[in-house]
Each structure stands twice: as C-alpha cells, then as structure tokens.
C-alpha cells in the first residue's frame, strides 16, 4: 500500500473525468435543444464552444499524466481519442480561433446527428473510463 504517482494520476483523472462526463451530458442536452428548436444555433454554439477547449485540454492532460506515470495500457486506451481531438482541432476549414461547432452548418441534419452521436459516444467512453480509473486507482493503491 503506497501512494505512488500512478495512484495520484488515477485519483486526479477520476475527478476530472467526472467533469468530462458533465461536459458530455451538457453537449447532448445542447444538441437536443437545437434539434427540438428551443434555441437558436447562434446562442447555443457559443457555450458549446466554451466547453470544447477545456474538454480537449483536460483529456490531453490525462494522456500526459499517464505517459509520465508509465501507465501504458491506460495511455493506449486514451490515445485514439487524443488523436481524434487533435484532428478536430486542426481540421477547421477557416482560420477560426474557436472550435468545431459552426452555427451556420450545425443545423444541417447530417452534422447535427454526427455531433449528437459524437457526444453520446464520448459520454459512454468517459463513463467507462471513470470506472476503469476507479478500478485502476484501487488496484495501484492495493498492489504496490
């Protein structure tokens, strides 16, 4: 029983993962509101934008921490999403300082359903990883 760096990483990521889950749920609600016509995309996209960068940075932080803690398996699990985030971030057509959700096109049915799917998938991923981190934290705490 020792408090290692890895254990610390898991604990921190556990907390932050809760935040990510919150973000994902927030996205889902936002897109659903768009779909049901409760809000204008212009109003809606701004807060969504505000959440995108924190989410990406938190997730990148995970990856860096796990890299430092040499938790290769956990890192491996997170790398695909990391690359996906990078791709999203750098694949914006215009020079925009902001991210991902463009009010004029977000209402396009394809785009909207894509965004919704993305949000659901992320929610699932974060939920699973939450329990995974919990397990790993306990495991590292107990095993070492």
């Amino acid at each position: 029983m020792a408090f290692t760096f890895a254990a610390f990483c898991y604990m921190l990521s556990l907390v932050l993962c809760a935040a990510l889950i919150f973000f994902a749920i927030w996205h889902i609600i936002a897109f659903d509101e768009l779909r049901t016509d409760f809000k204008s995309p212009i109003d809606q996209c701004n807060p969504v934008h505000a959440l995108v960068l924190p989410e990406y940075s938190i997730h990148s932080l995970f990856c860096i921490m796990f890299l430092c803690a040499q938790e290769w398996l956990t890192l491996g699990l997170n790398v695909p999403l990391l690359f996906y985030h990078f791709w999203r971030y750098f694949h914006c057509p215009a020079d925009s300082s902001e991210l991902a959700y463009d009010p004029p096109v977000v209402m396009n049915a394809d785009t909207l359903s894509y965004c919704q799917k993305e949000a659901w998938c992320k929610l699932a991923f974060y939920l699973l990883s939450f329990f995974y981190y919990l397990y790993c934290m306990i495991y590292t705490l107990v095993s070492s």
Binding site: D37, I42, A94, S96, S97, E98, Y101, A109, Y114
Partner: protein, 1171 residues
C-alpha cells in the same frame, strides 16, 4: 444577441455523399402551374375569334363549344346545378382566359389535330373525377353532395364509352399489373355509374350559362383588364411606374364592389390588349387571379375592402407588374414555348376538362379515393404508348401532356424530345443519338397525379422536386442513385396571388401545416392533415365560403383551391411590431472606387428610384462612406445641408450621433437628394487608397441593429485596414491549374460572424463588388451568405473603359432598388411524415432543422433542399411539401406565403426513373458540388459529378433496361443528364485547365447557390439560336410585338456556319456571333453596317433599324431579356475577333484542350460503367 461562434466543424461542412446520384430529363413537359395545367395550351383556332370579341366570357365559351361538337348537346339542366358546379365553371373560366392571350401565327396549321383533340380530352378526366366524386359522394351523406353528384352522373353517362375504351387499351398495351387492376376496377365502377342516368348534360353549355350567372367570374375580367392596362401603360420594359399600380389598385377595388363592371364599355380596348399581352406567364398569371377576385368579392369578416385593395398593391402591383412585363415572356426556359406551342392543335374543349374534376374533388376525397384517381391517370398514359386508335390515343395523352401534344403537332413531329411520360422511360442510346438536345426548351415534367390534383399543384416555377415520382423507401432511392431534393423560388414575382385575410389561419394542430388543397375533408367539420395525418376540426369561420357566399363549404375556400396563397398574419405571428423598411448604403470612396466611377451611377439610380423604393411612410434611409476612415451623414430634417461626420478610430468604431443617421425618407428627402447629388464629386481628389471595410460594416451593424433592414455594401478592392482585413491569396499562375484550386473558402471568420450578428438583428447585407483586381470574394461573400443577402460582382468595372458593365450596373441597380422586398422573414419547409430534410442551399441562416432565417427575402432568391426518406412511405400514395414564408412586407404587414407541392409515391424503380426532373436534379447536384468543393476540393466535386452520371446510368442499365450492356443507355427522362453534367464541368465554377480567375469562380459558385432554377439552368447550359433567318413561324405575341421563336441549337461549333449569325443566351450575357460569310443583308439590316469587315470589334447594342429582320431580332432579344431580373450584357462577336474565345468556351459539346467533348465524355462514362 450574443456573438456568433465562428469556426467550422470538420465534418460539419455540408457533405456530398461520396457518390451522389443522377437525375433525369424532364422530357415530359408541360405547362407550368398547378391549375393552369392545360390552360395555356388550349388555344388555337378560337383564339383568333376571341381576339375580335371585345369582352364577355360567354362568347368565348361559345367558341369552345363550337369545335367540340361533342359537348354541345342538350343545354337543359344547367340552372339547377348546385353551387359546386358553379365553382367548376368558375374555374373553367379561369382556364379559358389564358387562351385568349395566345395569338399564334400558326393558328390554322393543324385542323386535323384540333379535331382530334377536341374530341378526346375530357374522357379520362371524367373517368377519374367521376370516380372521385362517386366515392366522395357515397362516403359523405350530406345533401349537398348528393345533389352535386347528379350532374356528374350525366357526364359519366356521356363519356362512358370512351372511358371504357381507354381502359381496355391500357390493359392491352402494357403490363403494369397493378395499374391494370385498379383501372379495371375503376372502369367497372364507372360502368356501373351510368345506370343513374340523367339526361345528358352538355358540358360546354354549362359553362357559358353558369358563367353569367356567377358573380366571381365576372369579377375577373376586370382584374385582368386592369393588368393589361398596366402593361400597355408601361410599354413593357420600364419596370415600376407608380401610376399603373394605382390604376390597378382602383380597378381592383372596383372589382371588389361592382362585380358587373366587367362588361362596361370602357374596357374592351384594354382587354384586347390583354389578349396580346400576357403570354409566357399565363400559367401563373391566369391561374391564380380568380381567387383574388374571389377574395375581393367575398364578404367574410375578413374580406373587408381595404385589405383587399391593399393586397392589390402589395401582392400584385409594383413588382408584380414587373413580372407581368418582365417575366411574362417566361421566367424560365420551360414555359417559354408555351405560348408558341399553345397555338397549334386546338384543343378547344380543354377548358371543359377542369370542370368535372373540380366538381368531383371537393368531396372528401381521402387517400383511398385518391388512389384510384391516380391510377386512372396512369392508365391512359400507358395506353398512350401504343395508340391503336389515333383518336383515343390523342385524347388520352392530351390531358396529361397537353403542352407536349400541341408542341408535337405545332413543330411537326419534333416532339420526341419532350416526350410524354411513357416516353420518358423509352431507352435512348446516348452514343448513337446525335441530336440529344431538343429543339425547344426543356420543361418541368408534370407529376403523375390525377387531373384535378395536377391542376391544383404548385407551379414548377416556384417549387420543383428532382424526382416527380417519390420512391417509397430510402433503399429504392439508393438503388436509383439519383439525388432527391427540392428547388424553391418562394418569393417569386407573381402576377396574381390569392391573398387571404381572415381571423384564424387554419393550420394542423400538431404539425402546424397550413391548410392546403391536398388535405382531405373527412366530413364538413373535420379535415385530415396531409403531412402528419392528424384529424383537425374546421373552425367556424372557415365554414363560410366567401366565394359562393355560402355556408358549409370549407373545401371551396381559396386556401383549399390554391396551392400558392398568401395570408395576412395576425399579431400572433409577430415577435415585435413589424419593422419599417430601412435601407443603409455603405459606399467605398477610396481612390480605387472614385477611379472606377461607380458613385455617379449609383447616385443617379438612387435619385431616379428614390420614390420607388419599396416602403411606406416609415421608410428610413441612411448613408455611410469609408476609406481609411468612416464617414457618416447626418440628414436630420431641418438641417440646411447634409452633415458629414468622420470617425477615424477604426479599431473601436462608434456612432457619432445616436439618431439622425438613418432618417425618414420622406421627411428628409431634400437633404438626401442634396447628398446624392454631391456624393460623386466629394471625393474626386482623394489620395486615400486604403479601405476599412470591416470597421465600416461593424458600424453599419450598430446602426441597423435596433430595427433591422437592408445594408447595401459597395466595395471595390481588398479591405486593407482594421478588422476583417484580407490579403491577396490568388496566385495568377495557378489560374489554369488542373490540380488544386485553393482558397475557395473564406480566409477569415470575421465576415461570417458579422453576418450572423446581422442575421440575428434582422439585417441583411448585400454586396456589390466592383473590382478590377482580386478582392477575395470567397471571404467577402460570407457577409451576404449567412445574412440572406445577395451578391453582385462586376469584374473589371470602369464607368468609361467598360461601358457595358456600367450599363449593366445601372440596370441591375434599378431592379435591385425597386424590386419587392420582405423583412425579418423566416421560411419553414414541411414535408410528409417519413421524409426529412437534411441540407439546405442558398443564402440564409439555418435556424432549426426545418427553419431558415432570412433577414431579407427578395424575389430573385432561390433555395435548394436535400431530402432523405427516413421511414418507408408504403402506406401513402402521395407526399406533400409545404414551404411557408413569413415576412414583413415593405408596407409593414406581416404576411405568410405558402406553397404546397404534391407528388405521387411509386414503388418501382422504373417509375422513379420515369419521373426524373433532370434540370432540377442538375441544379441540386451543382449546389452539392459547390459545398463539396469548398469543404473538400474541386477535383472531388468534379469526380462526384461524373460519378453521379456513372452511377445513375449504370443503375438504370442494370436494373431497369434489360437491353444489351454494350451500349450506353439512358431513359428518355435522363438523356440530357450527361450533357448537363458535362456543361457543369465546363462551367466557370468547376472547370479546370482553363484560365479562371478565382473571384470569377467563387462568384459562379455563389450564383449556383442562390439563383433560382430557371436562371441557373441558363448559366449551366446556355441556349443557342440562329438569328439571321428569323421568321414569324411559330412566333408569339407579347405586348403587341411579334416574338419569333427560333429552334434551339446544340452547343457545338458544328452548328455554327460561317454564313449565319447566332445568339447565345448565357443568362447574364448574350453573345451574337457573326460568321465571316454572313449574309450582307443581315449585317446591313440588323447590325447597321455595310459588310462584315466594317463591323467594329466592340459592339454592345443592336441599332434600332426600321427593317423587318432588325425588328424581329430586337424583339426576340428584348423578350429574352425581359424574362430575367438582371439585365444581361450583349456582346457582338465577330468571327476571327479575339473575343470569340469567350463565345467558344460556352460551346460545351466541343472538345477543348482541357476537357472532353460530349462524345468523349459519353465514352468515358461508358468505360466507367463497364469497369
């Protein structure tokens, strides 16, 4: 409104599916206009007679009756007809009218055909309608209905045998089992029906008599007269004389009250004019008017006189006038020939046709009833393939494709191209068919509905679907590999539009659909929504019918009789009090702009049109100019002269005074005039070369945000200061690159964000780019794209060096300033449950999945929507689409314009191919390809276009036609598809290998996105005519002018002979190519020069010479010109002059260094299919 969020989503940018599908030829052509279907065509022989008849419908009817001996027996009975029939008559009157207008020269060419048609047409209709009425009557027990059914029965009796005939022939000729089954059944019921036998009822007489006894019809002539009056008064080209509108106004109100005035002595002359006037737009023009008449004669609480006369002003005066003069020649290639073709085979009895169907329709035909009707419509079609009996085949086809038939006889057997429906499936071997392009413009195919629905359906000018037969499932659609979508032109100038004022606008309670002609009345008090199938109550007010002044006939209300209507909305439809018309002009006055000299033209146009700006007493106007600083103009009433206020802090723009920058047009008119007179000379000596466009726009936004309105931005160079500054991104060496074309997307989000802010404040930004150098239109255009503005581009504009551009700007401005405008608009598109919209094209901001927010709407804006089929449509035989455009008129009224389109659902792939509207499909593909080239790359978009052809043709080859696979086969409906796609590939927007300036390319893309179909088609595939031998054969009369109708030539140099002169109509440009060996007579008579050598290199006008050939050429060109909102420039190109390259690049069937010829393209496609 919060700041917009800018960037694009990687996947978000609208995507074209990797391979998008193909489309088809609108072979089966026919009239524009739901109701007007057969109408415009119906004239021939009688026309001449009618010309001489000063007025009076009764007489016309006599005319009709005469040729159709068929009908003219047994006059009795009529007076006892129930109201329904009156209504029918009323409509028939409607359909009669157009015919007057067409005064063909070829009138007497086809007596035989006339005879033939005169006998035929009614039968199939009556079959269908009888059925409907029969069932309808049976299902509803109302006494009215029963009484109404009597006359039908007599009809049936009358036509019973023909009906049988068509039935049997259909069975014999082709094996569509289901159809046959249905059809047989219907025949049976038919046969059974006559046993009710009433004395046979002469349809023709009915009309004549009913006519005079009816109120509403009498109203109509007056209205029409008033219109014709306008036309003559204006002497065509001049768009907006205020006087006529007043005239109209008066006459309208007059018509509202004294219904009998129509025959008053003063009118005949005008009516006579009318006869010659309207020609092209018959379908629209004459279709709707009745209802307005109706409306105005109505006495519902709603139909108070004031609103009505107001409607006349608003709905049908200024711009409408415009359209009646401008668009009457025909707003699109499709209707154009109508007048020409109409003459031919008489088809006198056609006006009769509407009646029975009309009568039948109202009685709660639900879906079950429709089905047989629809089937009925199919059957004659099929039988038409193999006419065993010429007479019957004639009449069977006739009601379906009147235009086609007439055309065929009028041009004498050339009609194969614009083939009727059964023809549209005829396999065409593309590589063998040398002359694939028809001689006459291609029309929109008519949906295969039963006759009465067809008549009610929305005009294809406003509303078109790429597939007029909607596939039942997405799987079927995928198999067909064709794009499914709608092409909209919702705010088109209409000559007539029923305007409805009522306290309650009847809408479905669950999906909010507006009541429309395709709903079904379950009984008197309930109707079933045709989009979501919910059963709704008919409100009390709706029970009263202003048309007949009777109670209990909700199905006769104008809303239910017209697929295009306009409602005056109540305050429920307002978020705030309707805004006034507000116009702000933001003008570039840097050195570059002054040098180009556009200010003079703009100020001049504004001065001329100041009084014609749409608006009411609240209209406000303001001006801003900018170079490296921003100048505001205080025009406060009471000042002795305009005050210029300069703001030089462009990093943090503020408004120098809170008010008096936007002033009331009428209160400060003198100051405004002073300013406009002074402006062109104020900056003549400026040395300022910088342009702070971004800050100026921010200031404009601040100025406009309290009210909303229209900002017109004039820009002449790259913005070089402050926010939104741009750098030159174009590399001239890459202009003709075949590989990558970069920078099609915006360089900065600034303009998009600004546009979104503007859109949120109901402000639209229109951009006029007058630039000689690269100005990064791709970035600048965003300010209009997302704020529902429009974009005009005048490359290498200079007021002296380039006079033709200057003239174009002047004319465009005139149209721009005076055309109708709607403010703070939203447009919602609804469709039948099971279908869904997924991508929109055009200039707007998508507010919700089916809601477009349009800060401004103008009559020249077109939209496209892609559709997908989410649920199978097996349980329905019809689908409907409805667009509702809610806007504030320039008079401060909240209005809703509703269009409803109804299409049949089919389950077989063959039927899907048969119903392809190839022009709509091409326009939709072009829109998708633009998105694709911005989001992905130009070469991707080009590949996708080619794949669209390959996929659709191979899908057709492998599934529908079982012919040999070695040949490249296409259904007749799709035969123009490869040609049009090739034309797209050679269009400025998508071409590679030919030197194309980036701005030109981007502008072409912007136009593709925002132009309505009619104008876009000319841009994609220009029309070529030979004009050195114009004759009056087949000519049409428009406004006292004879307009020759030369046949279309294919776009290939092989058609150009040195001995000829050719006119190419590219939409925004006309070229006249004069061959080296051109007849000196032509050069002398038309061009005004003695021989070929003396024609100057730069010639942009045809001289007004007093020779027959000059007159013909000019009237033809004027007629073409009038059919479009923006005036095209005319270039006369000599053979061997350097300018001829411009002309030859449009010959898309020929090979160029960088692109395939048409034949090579076909071989390429064939190769791809065989892979």
């Amino acid at each position: 409104m919060s700041a917009p969020a800018g960037s694009s989503h990687p996947a978000a940018s609208a995507r074209i599916p990797p391979k998008f599908g193909g489309a088809a030829v609108s072979g089966a052509a026919a009239p524009a206009g739901p109701g007007a279907g057969p109408a415009p065509h119906q004239q021939n022989g009688p026309a001449q007679n009618q010309m001489q008849v000063p007025s009076g419908y009764g007489l016309h009817h006599q005319n009709y009756i005469a040729p159709s001996g068929h009908y003219s027996q047994g006059p009795g009975k009529m007076t006892s007809l129930p109201l329904d029939t009156q209504c029918g008559d009323y409509y028939s009157a409607l359909y009669t009218v157009p015919t007057q207008n067409v005064t063909p020269n070829t009138v007497n060419q086809q007596p035989g055909a006339q005879q033939l048609y005169s006998r035929g047409p009614p039968a199939p209709h009556i079959v269908g309608s009888t059925l409907g009425s029969f069932q309808g009557a049976a299902s509803s027990a109302s006494h009215l209905h029963t009484s109404a059914s009597q006359p039908y029965s007599s009809f049936v009796n009358h036509y019973n045998s023909p009906a049988m005939y068509s039935a049997s022939s259909s069975v014999a000729s082709q094996g569509f089992p289901s159809t046959c089954g249905h059809y047989a059944m219907s025949t049976v019921s038919n046969a059974a029906y006559p046993s009710v036998s009433y004395p046979s009822l002469p349809a023709g007489d009915t009309y004549g008599q009913m006519f005079t006894s009816q109120n509403a019809p009498t109203v109509r002539p007056v209205k029409d007269n008033s219109f014709s009056g306008q036309n003559t008064a204006i002497s065509h080209p001049s768009p907006l004389p205020p006087l006529p509108s007043q005239q109209h106004h008066q006459q309208q109100s007059l018509s509202g009250y004294s219904t009998l005035t129509w025959s008053s002595p003063g009118l005949p002359s005008t009516q006579d004019n009318l006869i010659r006037n309207h020609t092209g737009s018959l379908a629209v023009a004459n279709n709707n008017p009745t209802i307005t008449g109706v409306d105005s004669s109505s006495t519902t609480s709603s139909a108070s006189p004031m609103p009505n006369s107001y409607d006349a002003l608003e709905g049908g005066s200024y711009p409408d006038m415009l359209s009646s003069s401008a668009s009457s020649p025909a707003p699109d290639p499709a209707p154009e020939p109508d007048p020409a073709s109409a003459p031919a085979p008489a088809s006198a009895p056609a006006p009769v046709v509407p009646q029975p169907s009309k009568m039948a329709k109202p009685f709660g035909y639900g879906y079950p009833t429709l089905q047989p009707g629809y089937q009925n419509a199919t059957a004659p079609l099929i039988s038409g393939v193999q006419p065993s009996n010429p007479v019957y085949s004639g009449f069977q086809q006739y009601p379906q494709y009147p235009g086609v038939n007439q055309l065929s006889s009028s041009i004498g057997g050339l009609s194969l191209q614009s083939s009727p429906q059964p023809e549209s499936l005829r396999p065409v071997n593309l590589t063998q068919e040398r002359n694939i392009l028809p001689m006459t413009p291609v029309w929109a195919p008519v949906p295969n509905l039963n006759a009465d629905l067809k008549k009610l359906n929305c005009s294809p000018d406003s509303f078109r679907c790429t597939l007029t037969n909607i596939p039942q499932t997405q799987a079927l659609l995928n198999k067909a590999k064709l794009p499914l979508g709608l092409l909209l032109h919702p705010f088109r100038d209409l000559t007539q539009l029923p305007v409805i004022t009522s306290n309650t606008i009847v809408r479905c309670r669950s999906c909010r659909t507006y009541i429309n002609p395709f709903v079904s009345f379950i009984d008197q008090r309930r109707w079933k929504c045709n989009l979501c199938y919910r059963v709704n109550d008919v409100p009390e007010e709706f029970m009263y019918n202003p048309l007949t002044r009777s109670y209990g006939e909700p199905h006769k209300r104008p809303e239910v009789q017209n697929s295009t209507v306009e409602f005056i909305a109540s305050s429920d439809y307002m978020l705030r009090p309707p805004q006034p018309a507000v116009y702000l002009f933001v003008l570039d006055v840097s050195h570059n702009a002054v040098e180009a000299g556009y200010l003079t033209i703009l100020c001049q146009s504004l001065l001329e049109n100041l009084d014609k700006l749409p608006g009411d007493s609240r209209t406000r106007i303001g001006f801003m100019t900018f170079d490296s600083t921003i100048h505001f103009y205080n025009l406060q009433e009471g000042l002795s002269q305009p005050q210029m206020l300069i703001v030089s802090d462009i990093d943090d723009v503020f408004l120098p005074t809170p008010d008096s920058l936007l002033v009331n047009l009428y209160e400060s008119k003198e100051l405004i005039k002073d300013l406009l007179n002074a402006l062109p000379n104020m900056f003549t000596n400026t040395r300022e070369t910088h342009s702070a466009l971004g800050p100026a726009l921010q200031a404009a936004f601040k100025l406009m945000s309290p009210t909303g309105g229209r900002v017109s931005v004039f820009q002449t160079q790259l913005p070089s200061l402050g926010a939104g500054l741009l750098q030159s991104r174009e590399d001239p060496n890459q202009r003709s690159s075949t590989k990558v074309v970069q920078h099609l997307g915006p360089a900065t989000d600034f303009y998009k964000k600004l546009a979104l802010d503007c859109s949120g404040q109901q402000t639209a930004v229109d951009l006029f780019l007058l630039s000689s150098q690269y100005s990064d239109l791709a970035s600048l255009a965003c300010m209009s794209k997302y704020s529902a503005g429009c974009i005009y581009y005048y490359p290498s504009f200079h007021y002296t060096h380039n006079p033709s551009q200057a003239e174009k700007l002047q004319k465009d401005l005139k149209r721009y300033l005076t055309r109708k405008i709607g403010f703070e608009a939203v447009m919602r598109i609804r469709c039948t449950k099971g279908l869904s919209m997924h991508t929109f094209h055009g200039n707007f901001f998508v507010r919700s999945t089916d809601l477009l927010s349009l800060a401004n709407i103008n009559p020249d804006a077109g939209f496209a929507v892609q559709l997908s089929i989410e649920e199978s449509l097996t349980d329905t035989s019809l689908v409907c689409f409805q667009t509702a455009l809610l806007y504030t008129s320039s008079k401060g009224e909240r209005r809703i314009r509703v269009h409803t389109l109804c299409l049949p659902v089919v389950s077989s792939l063959a039927d899907v191919y048969a119903g392809v509207d190839v022009q709509a499909a091409i326009c939709l593909l072009a829109n998708m390809a633009v998105d694709r080239s911005v989001s992905s790359s130009l070469s991707d978009a080009r590949d996708a276009l080619v794949n669209a052809v390959v996929d659709s043709l191979s899908a057709y080859g492998s599934t529908v036609s079982n012919l040999q696979h070695s040949a490249l086969m296409a259904p007749s409906s799709l035969k123009l598809f490869p040609l049009y796609v090739l034309a797209l590939l050679k269009q400025k927007a998508f071409r590679t290998g030919t030197s194309t300036r980036l701005d030109d390319r981007v502008y072409a893309m912007c136009q593709i996105k925002s132009q309505p179909l009619v104008h876009l088609m000319k841009m994609i595939h220009p029309n070529l005519y030979r004009i050195d031998r114009l004759t009056d054969e087949g000519a049409v009369h428009v406004n006292d002018r004879i307009v020759p109708q030369p046949p279309l030539q294919k776009l290939s140099a092989e058609k150009l002979t040195r001995e000829g002169a050719f006119l190419m109509d590219c939409g925004s440009v006309f070229y006249i190519w004069v061959g080296k060996g051109c007849d000196n007579n032509f050069i002398e008579d038309v061009l005004g020069y003695t021989n070929f050598a003396s024609i100057p290199q730069k010639m942009t006008h045809l001289p007004e010479l007093d020779t027959l050939s000059s007159e013909r050429a000019r009237s033809f060109i004027t007629w073409l010109r009038d059919s479009r909102p923006l005036s095209p420039i005319l270039h006369i190109v000599k053979d061997e002059s350097p300018a001829k390259a411009e002309f030859f690049q449009h010959l898309i069937e020929d090979r160029t260094e960088a692109a395939f010829s048409y034949y090579e393209f076909l071989l390429h496609v064939q190769q791809q299919i065989c892979k």
